[in-house]
């Protein structure tokens, strides 16, 4: 292949420097990477996936499966860039994929010699014994195309924009331009997208007279008319997927190192004018560089002044030969023609095509331009649920029945005539029925027997023999064929390989192609950068955490921040984690500590039916809760599973505050809203989530009362006046406060809630009064010492209240409540349920691993849910869920973890102050 640039039109063009596999090269402005490589005579642009066969450029745009590159520019690297559809930029570093050190001299090229031993599916058979995982790392290293570097995750964010229009026209060829013009003229809000830098489609690839004028002369009035009628034209924009509710994803390419742009277009109607591409001709050694798409070669000639060979053989229909042959001759090439039905045809050459051989004939060729007919680009049609029907004459799947909001016109419908395409577009835009397609005689495209390998999928190295093997091994479904042979996978997505693969399978099965069917096309239609999907959701935006108003204070005190339940909270304070946590526990047990409890839910439930409503939603009885009192309760699912726990405080007859766990605020609010509107009068009970309006400072420890007293809240803090599980209203510095006597540490505690903006002053004041801040790790230990649970840690998706020993409401609550029916089922009342217990280790033993299996008689009967070294008690403590655990107190268990067995004894879950004297102080 001696491709070269015919410099007639490019003499004055700007030169662009780039490197390919380390070699400095030059292209010209307007080049794609592929046209630039062809223009300087590069033949081998990459290596195939399995056998590392040399690969040259096949197509002229996104239908090319071979010219895949890793590209770097200005510190940005993108893997698997389609070189045929990516514009060249000055300074680009282009690296071939699947090759080392270069595409031309690839050290793994020798794999091709082993190809007889590496047929389709060989790895499914070879690497089963003794263990797939032994081979997996090496195979994964060899597999794949480009290299994914850190830039993919940390590179430029993707810009994502939502947009709307009345009519979206996909494809700016003659049919698309005609449709867009007619729709815009009818007053519709029209958007026309085309993935090339300019509209015109096949008219620019393959110039021909239209309405008696040159294509460029015809195109300009169309675009002018569209714009004049208010239509928008988006060039370099690819529609790569259609989704429900007429949502179309558009990728708008920009200069290489800038943000990729995704447009989420909501269109009232979509007109697909996506055109058609050449179907490859299957013959021996048809994968050699220099064997190309006929229309691809024409595009390189007309768009980039690149002639893909000087001694060209056309392998195409008589109509195509008559149309395209003179074009290449006028450009200076010698053109020969071979009929599609040539028997025993094979390409000859190593690394590039040098000749064609058939029977006893052989002639020189440096380029073989092929077309076995046209394959309509129906991918988007299928994304939207459109059906396909086999057309034997065209040798192609054509669109059948489809969604009402979708039309398909021009080449994508199978209309290969220019006038008909223009008529199609106009009729689709104006709601008219398109003219029926003329029937045509089929081309002789069934692969002829050949001793040389006949390639169907150039990217994945699938040959006719692989298809035969799959059929022989009864992978006769087209979907199974795809997965067994990898036919049509990766970036090709069946564009070039689909019909030839189905034809080969049909031959093997002795069925018509229509009965073989086709695989389902799914988005994306072309490769798109991963940044397009993640948009700006990188680093802290992947899962943004909620932040407390007290965070500056906490950081100033040395808080080590970490995520707890969707909030950024202090894990401990200071540099040394172990020492800090022990000291914080001791401070809370022996003196006075403080913690930021702002993340706990504060959901107000109000109205004359509020009490009855909460009584229904919560497992525990709330209706009889007096004003000023607080009650602990479970929210259950309808199956009776514990969803959340929290405390309900009654401010007055018609006003409650639900304090749920931090991570469940949104979920509990949503459930309260749902139940409020289901079975209750929504005008008599209302739910306000005011969690973020209030901040909460908790003061805890035996000296907590002294500190709170010094705050002068106007509340009698004595135990007789303000008992545990009570609420009082007061003021701090003129601001209202709600003070709850509830305790998660097991010590005397006051939770002081105040308007968010006033919380920093309150926090500083409490600290100045001698309270020491403690983090979440110390808090977790303190609560575990008391046997208090954390939902989702000490409970799982099967835990019911009775599994925690709370059976009173189940047996005695007479009013209906959510989960009641679930708690009365045989499953709920069965023996063998996992129940929460404490787990003690022998004296001197170390802490149990969280998650370790608890076993008896060699079977797992539960697991460790929480495990700590208790600074208060001086030994390890643990909680666990164990089958019938509450009736197995003092039984010994084996604890299994990572091949090691240890022992533990079942004890009560509460390790500290079981009578509650300290929290009631």
């Amino acid at each position: 292949m001696t491709a070269r640039r015919i410099h007639i039109a490019t003499a004055g063009s700007k030169r662009l420097a780039f490197t390919f596999d380390g070699q400095p090269l030059q292209g010209v402005a307007g080049d794609t990477i592929a046209s630039a490589l062809l223009g300087v005579g590069v033949r081998i642009v990459g290596r195939s996936f399995k056998y590392h066969r040399p690969r040259g450029v096949w197509g002229g745009w996104t239908d090319d499966p071979n010219a895949i590159f890793d590209v770097s520019l200005a510190g940005v690297t993108k893997p698997n860039v389609q070189g045929t559809a990516t514009l060249l930029e000055d300074g680009m570093i282009v690296r071939s994929v699947n090759s080392w050190p270069t595409a031309r001299f690839d050290v793994k090229a020798g794999l091709d010699l082993l190809s007889p031993f590496l047929p389709a599916g060989f790895y499914y058979k070879m690497f089963k014994w003794p263990d797939w995982h032994l081979f997996e790392p090496a195979i994964r290293k060899m597999a794949g195309l480009g290299r994914v570097g850190p830039d993919v995750a940390d590179g430029p964010d993707g810009l994502q924009i939502h947009d709307q229009c009345d009519v979206l026209v996909v494809g700016g060829g003659p049919a698309g331009l005609s449709a867009a013009r007619a729709a815009a003229h009818a007053g519709q809000d029209v958007v026309l997208v085309d993935d090339h830098p300019d509209v015109g489609g096949s008219l620019r690839d393959n110039p021909c007279q239209i309405d008696g004028t040159a294509p460029a002369v015809w195109i300009t009035p169309q675009t002018d008319a569209i714009k004049a009628a208010g239509g928008r034209i988006m060039a370099r924009t690819t529609a790569f997927g259609i989704y429900d509710h007429s949502l179309i994803s558009l990728h708008q390419t920009a200069p290489f190192a800038t943000h990729p742009k995704l447009i989420r277009m909501r269109a009232g109607r979509v007109i697909l004018a996506t055109g058609a591409i050449d179907r490859p001709v299957v013959f021996g050694n048809n994968d050699l560089p220099g064997v190309m798409s006929l229309r691809g070669a024409a595009a390189y000639l007309h768009r980039h002044d690149v002639l893909t060979g000087t001694d060209i053989t056309l392998l195409a229909s008589a109509q195509d030969v008559a149309h395209f042959g003179p074009m290449f001759e006028r450009a200076g090439a010698q053109v020969r023609v071979l009929p599609l039905e040539t028997e025993g045809l094979r390409a000859v050459g190593r690394g590039k095509v040098r000749a064609l051989s058939y029977g006893t004939n052989r002639h020189h060729a440096d380029a073989v331009l092929c077309s076995a007919g046209l394959s309509p680009l129906v991918h988007l049609w299928c994304h939207a649920g459109g059906q396909l029907e086999w057309d034997a004459g065209r040798g192609a799947f054509l669109p059948g029945a489809g969604p009402d909001h979708l039309s398909i016109v021009g080449g994508a419908r199978g209309a290969n005539d220019l006038d008909q395409s223009i008529d199609d577009g106009h009729k689709a835009a104006t709601g008219q029925t398109p003219a029926p397609l003329p029937s045509i005689a089929p081309l002789p495209t069934t692969p002829k027997p050949s001793r040389a390998r006949q390639w169907i999928d150039l990217q994945n190295d699938v040959t006719t023999k692989d298809v035969a093997l799959a059929a022989q091994e009864n992978f006769a479904s087209v979907e199974h064929l795809k997965r067994y042979t990898t036919l049509g996978m990766a970036t090709d997505q069946g564009k070039t390989s689909n019909v030839n693969g189905l034809t080969a399978l049909a031959v093997q099965l002795g069925k018509p192609i229509a009965d073989v069917g086709t695989t389902r096309f799914r988005p994306p239609y072309v490769p798109v950068p991963l940044q397009l999907y993640r948009g700006a959701r990188s680093s802290t935006q992947i899962a943004p955490l909620q932040r407390s108003v007290l965070e500056p204070q906490i950081r100033a005190l040395g808080g080590a921040m970490a995520e707890y339940g969707g909030w950024l909270r202090p894990a401990w304070y200071g540099d040394d984690m172990t020492t800090a946590i022990a000291q914080e526990c001791a401070q809370a047990r022996n003196d006075v500590a403080m913690l930021d409890a702002s993340s706990l839910g504060k959901i107000e439930v109000m109205g004359p039916d509020a009490a009855g409503f909460l009584n229904f939603v919560y497992y525990n009885s709330i209706a009889n809760l007096p004003a000023g009192k607080i009650r602990y309760g479970f929210m259950l699912t309808e199956r009776g599973i514990i969803y959340d726990d929290g405390v309900m405080a009654r401010l007055d007859e018609n006003h409650f505050v639900v304090s749920c766990s931090s991570s469940h605020v949104s979920g509990v609010t949503a459930l309260l809203e749902a139940w409020r509107q289901d079975g209750h009068d929504p005008d008599r009970v209302f739910v306000h989530n005011v969690t973020q309006a209030w901040a909460t400072v908790t003061v805890t420890g035996p000296k907590a009362r002294d500190v709170v007293a010094a705050l002068d809240l106007g509340i009698d803090l004595q135990a007789e006046a303000f008992a545990h599980m009570s609420l009082r209203l007061g003021t701090y510095d003129g601001m209202p406060v709600r003070v709850c006597r509830v305790s998660f540490t097991g010590e005397l505690s006051f939770e002081i809630s105040i308007a968010r903006d006033s919380a920093p002053n309150l926090w500083d004041h409490v600290h100045q009064l001698g309270a020491t801040p403690i983090g979440m790790e110390a808090t977790s230990i303190l609560r575990a010492e008391k046997g208090y649970i954390i939902i989702g840690k000490d409970t799982d998706g099967e835990t019911m209240p009775q599994d925690l020993g709370l059976i009173g409401p189940r047996d005695r609550k007479t009013q209906p409540y959510v989960g009641n029916r679930g708690l009365q089922t045989p499953v709920a009342k069965a023996t063998g349920r996992q129940q929460l217990v404490g787990l003690a280790v022998p004296e001197g033993a170390t802490q149990l691993p969280t998650g370790a299996h608890l076993t008896a008689a060699g079977k797992s009967i539960g697991y460790v849910t929480s495990s700590y070294l208790s600074p208060t008690l001086g030994h390890p403590i643990a909680l666990g869920l164990v089958q019938d655990g509450l009736s197995r107190l003092n039984a010994d268990l084996t604890v299994y973890h990572l091949g090691e067995n240890r022992s533990a004894r079942i004890v009560p879950a509460c390790w500290y102050d079981p009578k509650g004297d300290r929290l009631n102080a």
Partner: protein
Amino acid sequence: MRNDTAKWPAPAVGPRGQVQAQGITLDQITLPRQVLISGPRDAAMALAGTTQATGWPDVAMGDHYALSLRRDRILMVGGQIDSFGWRADVGLATSDIGTGYTVFSLQGPRAEKVLRTGTELSEKIPSASCLRLWNGYDILLYRHTATDRYLLHVGSALAEGLWDMLNRQIRMVSA
């Protein structure tokens, strides 16, 4: 246990500084008062002292107005209500939100483009509610004073994240 302090930049203390880009101005603003009122719409409007609850694409005016959140809930901005809880006399539930919502102002001819990075936004698609999901954040979004001035209320615990996301989108839209 991991210390992730460095992963999360320290939050702003006090109002965040103005951000300006071509055709876009982003500010944090302070509203006089925000009160949730739930109950029959007419009674809620009467208690709030307003005649219209702003939805999309309405333009709220002045310092005292109401935002329509759902069929039976508004957010009163400004105005005067002193007692909160269940108001049996009018059958309404009221809660002082204080600064529970942080409010950002996005203004300028290109502000709408920034907003379209995170939600479908069109004057042709009205909504009775200001509630929206923008780039994954639950916000109240409406226009205030002018057709190119947008106010965004977000739960204050996520204000840091929303501010960061707004800045990311402004940078990309302006690039």
